[in-house]
């Protein structure tokens, strides 16, 4: 931010003869520039959808910066996004105003010590902050009102600080100063193949099969858990083992690419998790193949993209994080997720700021963050050259574009056809994996939930299940059912989120409004259950935070029928709209083979004819107790993907109804497993007041713990590596469905028309904060 910028716009309004008219006009015509920067945008959309209708205040959402005069900065501004923010702000005509919403926009919120966070107030002059994580629509509208009043000239300070003298003497002085509760083992032992004795007969067969198939190539094969096998190989034989796994075991896609740095042993552990979509019995099995390489300055490793294309983007990500050069992967020059100025942040010697529990008078609460040095985000040279040679046009869509979401798409166009689309993600990369390594296990529950606040329960559930798996905690029956209810609610909510966005991409604002009206009802149910609209963090290791009341159960029950009614209207206006069908049918087709090759997940995979749903393949919670079906299709086009999810939502509503019926009949009792609580058994019905006592010192047994969960948009994979001593994870890897589906979007768009890109993009329900993590 430059000198004198802070109040310049208000000053402009207050000068000149026409000042009263100017002020009046500006006050009632604050058009927010549609600049979605992070997950708070979900609530922003609610504020402008039919539930709250921000247009009442005269604020009409406008996609184009030149015509807007108001930016609502939605939460996190990463370093990469900081440039975009400044550019958009500069593009807007004076006078212009800025509202920052969300805790992230103020001091970083839950991501305060991330390496990729900046503060918007240092980039552009901010007129008003709205706190909350996320903010509620009401408070956002209140923020708009506050700006209106500021324009009018009213001073508006909503918070006043008082300085109080703490009483000296007595009880206070006797308390000891709290120290950091984190325990880091100084030289932890990292082992990925810790044997676990489990009752898994098929696993033994499989192990024998692997032994035979990989004869002489592997170092060890270990069963680490049900459905999990770890294969250790030497670096030389690694490729060969991978090849065999692909040929003999029909392992057709990579679920995860991981690197674990062990600095005190001077090594990197290189890991690939592979699985199979083509063989039914192998679907739940995840084979982790790993090897160790020395910790040199510029480590190299052969890329497996030639075998599995689905590894491509994850390898590039690891290249960013650890600086490992994957030989054979084409994307090794330049950064993918990270801004240019951040190097290898996930190495252990890259330190982020520690939490402080006692403040030094002098020291700032958070260290100032250095801004990116320049404002340009250039397009890769090769792309420009290639386009020039073939007489094509290069268009950059995003990160500020009415139809881009929070990432940049670089399109190479030949006339009206798309030659190639290059994604430039990372605008919402908030370094969750690094932060998780520096927080207690229990502190990571809300952190991972922020990956996707449109589908919070499933994100939450995935992480918690991983911990439960590792600790072998059995969750009480009632809690299981309630968790299922929540997961399904969240799935329905996420579907309608995507519906709304899809409608907008199609230029259909009514569809958006109708879908979000339904979402509003879901959020209402969530609020009554948990007290929070989008970020409840309600599922905790061992169960849920507290039981839910009968009244809320009744409401959820009624709600399932209420949704059906509105669904009918939504169907009429959008789903069966001839124009919509014409736009999506036969567009962006991904065949079964394509889908497997790209490593698609979730409903988008099923739309291409692969019957893979984790809720059926490896049931968790109470999913095996209900009567429901997996929806698959074989068209693989946009309409197929959309309708597949639509049918799935109907199934979800049916699961919801069944679950609610069961819970209503069930006697009340513990909702948190007593095992997990240890000595705080009395909290088993409500964790209130005991959360940190019971979970603060949670330590996972040594090894790698991986679970997959079917979230609304597909498989979310958590892999926690614990050293068995520290109460913080040694490394957490989270692979979200959108990250995997990114490849699908690219593949499906090739050769289609320009306008089809939005049909394809929307059909994948891409949620950038989830993909970037």
């Amino acid at each position: 931010m430059e000198e004198g910028e802070q109040d310049r716009n208000i000053r402009i309004l207050h000068s000149g003869v026409f000042s009263p008219l100017r002020r009046w006009g500006a006050k009632w015509s604050l058009w927010p520039c549609h600049f979605v920067t992070s997950c708070c945008g979900v609530e922003l959309a609610h504020a402008f959808a039919c539930g709250f209708d921000g247009e009442r205040l005269g604020t009409l959402n406008m996609g184009i910066s030149r015509q807007a005069n108001f930016i609502i900065v939605e939460g996190t501004i990463t370093r990469k996004m900081a440039r975009a923010l400044r550019i958009v702000w500069e593009q807007m005509p004076d006078p212009k105003f800025v509202n920052v919403i969300g805790a992230c926009g103020q001091r970083g919120g839950i991501f305060w010590n991330s390496y990729n966070i900046t503060r918007p107030s240092e980039i552009v002059p901010v007129d008003f902050f709205v706190p909350g994580c996320p903010i509620t629509p009401e408070s956002l509208l209140r923020g708009v009102r506050a700006v209106q009043e500021k324009i009018e000239g009213k001073e508006r300070t909503t918070i006043k600080f008082n300085k109080v003298e703490l009483p000296s003497g007595g009880e206070l002085e006797e308390r000891t100063v709290p120290t950091t509760p984190k325990l880091f083992a100084p030289t932890p032992e990292i082992k990925l193949d810790v044997k676990r004795s489990v009752d898994w007969d098929f696993g033994k067969e499989l192990k024998d099969l692997l032994r035979k198939g990989l004869k002489g190539l592997y170092e060890s094969i270990t069963i680490t858990d049900v459905n999990r096998i770890a294969i250790r190989a030497t670096q030389e034989k690694f490729m060969e083992v991978a090849q065999r796994l692909k040929d003999i075991m029909k392992m057709d896609h990579v679920k995860n690419v991981n690197v674990i740095e062990v600095p005190h042993e001077r090594k990197y552990v290189m890991e690939y998790m592979v699985s199979s979509y083509s063989v039914d019995e192998l679907m739940p099995v995840i084979i982790s193949l790993f090897t160790e390489i020395g910790r040199e300055a510029e480590p190299e490793f052969p890329s497996l993209t030639s075998l599995w294309e689905s590894a491509n983007y994850s390898e590039r990500e690891m290249h960013d994080f650890f600086g490992i050069e994957y030989k054979g992967n084409k994307g090794m020059n330049g950064k993918f997720l990270l801004p240019p100025e951040v190097d290898t942040p996930l190495r252990k010697d890259f330190k982020i700021e520690e939490e402080q529990y006692v403040f030094d008078e002098e020291a700032p609460i958070t260290t100032p963050i250095k801004l990116p040095p320049d404002l340009v985000m250039p397009v890769p040279e090769e792309t420009l050259e290639a386009a020039e040679e073939n007489d094509e046009m290069v268009a950059c869509i995003g990160p500020h574009h009415p139809g881009s979401g929070h990432l940049r798409w670089i399109m190479r166009l030949k006339g009206d056809a798309i030659v190639e689309i290059i994604p430039d993600p990372g605008y919402v990369h908030r370094s969750m994996e690094k932060l998780a390594e520096n927080r207690l296990y229990i502190q990571n529950v809300p952190l991972f939930e922020r990956a996707n606040i449109s589908d919070p329960f499933n994100m939450n559930l995935g992480y918690v299940r991983t911990i439960e798996n590792a600790l072998k905690i059995e969750v009480p029956e009632r809690a299981k059912y309630i968790r299922t209810i929540m997961a399904e609610l969240s799935r329905i909510g996420a579907f309608f989120y995507d519906c709304g966005i899809y409608s907008l991409f199609m230029g259909h604002s009514t569809g958006f409004m109708y879908a979000w009206a339904i979402r509003e009802m879901i959020l209402e149910a969530v609020v009554r259950m948990t007290g929070s609209r989008c970020t409840p963090s309600f599922i905790i290791p061992g169960g849920i935070r507290r039981d839910i009341s009968d009244y809320v159960l009744d409401m959820t029950d009624n709600f399932t029928s209420a949704v059906h009614k509105r669904l009918k209207k939504y169907e009429d206006i959008f789903i069966y709209n001839p124009v919509f069908v014409a736009r999506t049918k036969g567009v962006g087709v991904l065949t079964r083979e394509d889908a497997i090759r790209c490593g698609l997940v979730g409903p988008f995979l099923r739309a291409s004819g692969i019957d893979y749903d984790i809720r059926k393949v490896a049931p968790y919670e109470a999913y095996d107790k209900f009567d429901w079906e997996v929806t698959t299709g074989d068209a693989g086009d946009c309409l197929g993907r959309f309708m597949g999810r639509y049918e799935e939502t109907k199934q979800s509503l049916s699961i919801l109804k069944q679950a609610v019926d069961v819970v209503k009949e069930m006697p009340r009792g513990a909702v948190i497993s007593e095992e997990a609580l240890g000595e705080y058994k009395e909290a088993s019905r409500d964790i209130k007041g005991h959360l940190y006592h019971a979970y603060g010192n949670l330590v996972l047994p040594k090894g790698e713990w991986t679970t997959v969960t079917e979230s609304a948009r597909g498989t979310v994979l958590y892999s926690i590596i614990s050293d068995g001593e520290s109460n913080v994870p040694y490394r957490v890897r989270i692979i979200t469905p959108c990250w995997m589906n990114l490849r699908g979007i690219i593949e499906a768009s090739k050769g289609e028309r320009v306008a089809d890109f939005w049909a394809i993009y929307g059909s994948f329900g891409y949620f950038p904060p989830e993909a970037d993590r």
Binding site: G25, A26, D53, R56, G58, Q67, P93, I573, F580, F757
Partner: protein, 375 residues
């Protein structure tokens, strides 16, 4: 000299808009020197048509309030309220006034790549050019220029619209406006042919292209005589005004408002109302061709009472009312339909619509030849 003025005044006096209701006041004012002449001038039919109805004043009022009607109506359909807080007891009626003022006082940015002069001139030029066709539209029996070639001239002027939009896009010189402009050009050719044929069908039917006599001839409304032509005309109007499902050139989510992407401040304000102007002109034309123009239906008591009192304004009022209804229909489309792709829009234009309009023409010829309609 004196003579000239006198002849002028007498010409004016012989062709005055009569409003019996206002007559007493006008009578008083006429006696005041100069004011009297002024009033005579304003009430002179051509001037009245150009300046008041259907010209500038009514047009301006519509431009100021129609977006509000549209936003409110869309709000209703979408289960929400629309602009409201600004004057809550009027339901936010003056919302557009605030928007206009805001645009007026906002900085106009001319970016580095733009062709500065054209960039600034085009919005103003097109604002004026878009009003010109109004001179030929009769509101009741008030019309600025009466001509046996009225429709042809109007068509020529309407066909100029896209040229200005192309100009906007070209002067902006940015990627999205380039794509948007090309899309506009494509769409232009796709609807124009069938648009003209649909109008031709009506000219054949009425046997004249004088707007005033067309209105007179509609003892049965044109829409009942040739509904196919009306449909073709309406779809073409939706394409011409870039309404959904044909909002292809300005697709927000795709090309970020296409030709308009770089405009800010009052320049954008003008472009923003331009699409309402276009809609007004085309709806007016549709009213005249298909909905009986300013001819009023007979409603007992009300007609008896009001028609003699309002005089010429009675017809004008009906014309405006019908036009507003057509415009509203045109704008409500956006809440119902998503957007077609360019190629789909083109194939509708060159396929279905061309077919429709040719059938409409054939129908008209058959009706005339068959003697069903005697001109």
């Amino acid at each position: 000299m004196m003579e000239l003025i006198n002849t002028l005044i007498s010409t004016m006096m012989s062709n005055q808009v009569s409003i019996p209701l206002a007559e007493p006041i006008l009578e008083l004012l006429r006696d005041i020197p100069l004011v009297g002449e002024m009033i005579a001038l304003i009430l002179w039919r051509p001037i009245f048509a150009a300046l008041i109805c259907p010209g500038l004043t009514v047009g301006g009022i519509l431009l100021l309030f129609f977006p509000w009607i549209e936003r409110k109506l869309c709000g209703r359909i979408q289960w929400r309220v629309g602009p409201h807080e600004i004057v809550w007891w009027l339901g936010g009626l003056i919302q557009i006034l605030a928007d206009t003022l805001r645009f007026l006082f906002q900085e106009v940015i001319v970016h580095k790549d733009a062709h500065k002069h054209y960039f600034l001139q085009f919005p103003f030029l097109s604002f004026i050019a878009f009003l010109l066709p109004l001179l030929f539209i009769p509101a009741g029996n008030i019309v600025a220029i009466e001509s046996p070639y009225a429709i042809q001239i109007m068509l020529a002027l309407i066909c100029l619209f896209p040229v200005f939009i192309l100009g906007l896009g070209w002067a902006s010189n940015s990627r999205f406006s380039f794509i948007g402009t090309v899309r506009e050009a494509f769409m232009y050719f796709a609807y124009e042919v069938s648009f003209i044929i649909a109008i031709l069908a009506m000219i054949v039917l009425y046997g004249t292209s004088d707007m005033v006599s067309i209105v007179d001839k509609q003892s049965i409304w044109g829409i009942a005589l040739n509904p196919i032509a009306a449909l073709a005309f309406f779809i073409a109007a939706a394409m011409a005004t870039s309404r959904l499902p044909f909002e292809i050139a300005e697709a927000d989510q795709e090309v970020a408002a296409g030709p308009h992407v770089e405009y800010s401040g009052i320049a954008f304000g003008l472009i923003y109302v331009m699409c309402y102007e276009k809609a007004y002109v085309l709806s007016g034309l549709m009213t005249v061709l298909f909905l009986g123009g300013g001819s009023a239906p007979y409603i007992p008591v009300i007609t008896d009472l009001l028609a003699p009192l309002l005089g010429d304004l009675w017809g004008a009022m009906w014309f405006v009312l019908k036009t507003i209804i057509v415009m509203t229909t045109l704008f409500v489309l956006r809440t119902i339909y998503p957007r077609y792709r360019l190629d789909q829009g083109l194939s509708i234009g060159w396929g279905a619509m061309l077919g429709l309009s040719v059938i409409a023409l054939a129908l008209s010829l058959a009706l005339v030849a068959g003697g069903v309609i005697v001109i």
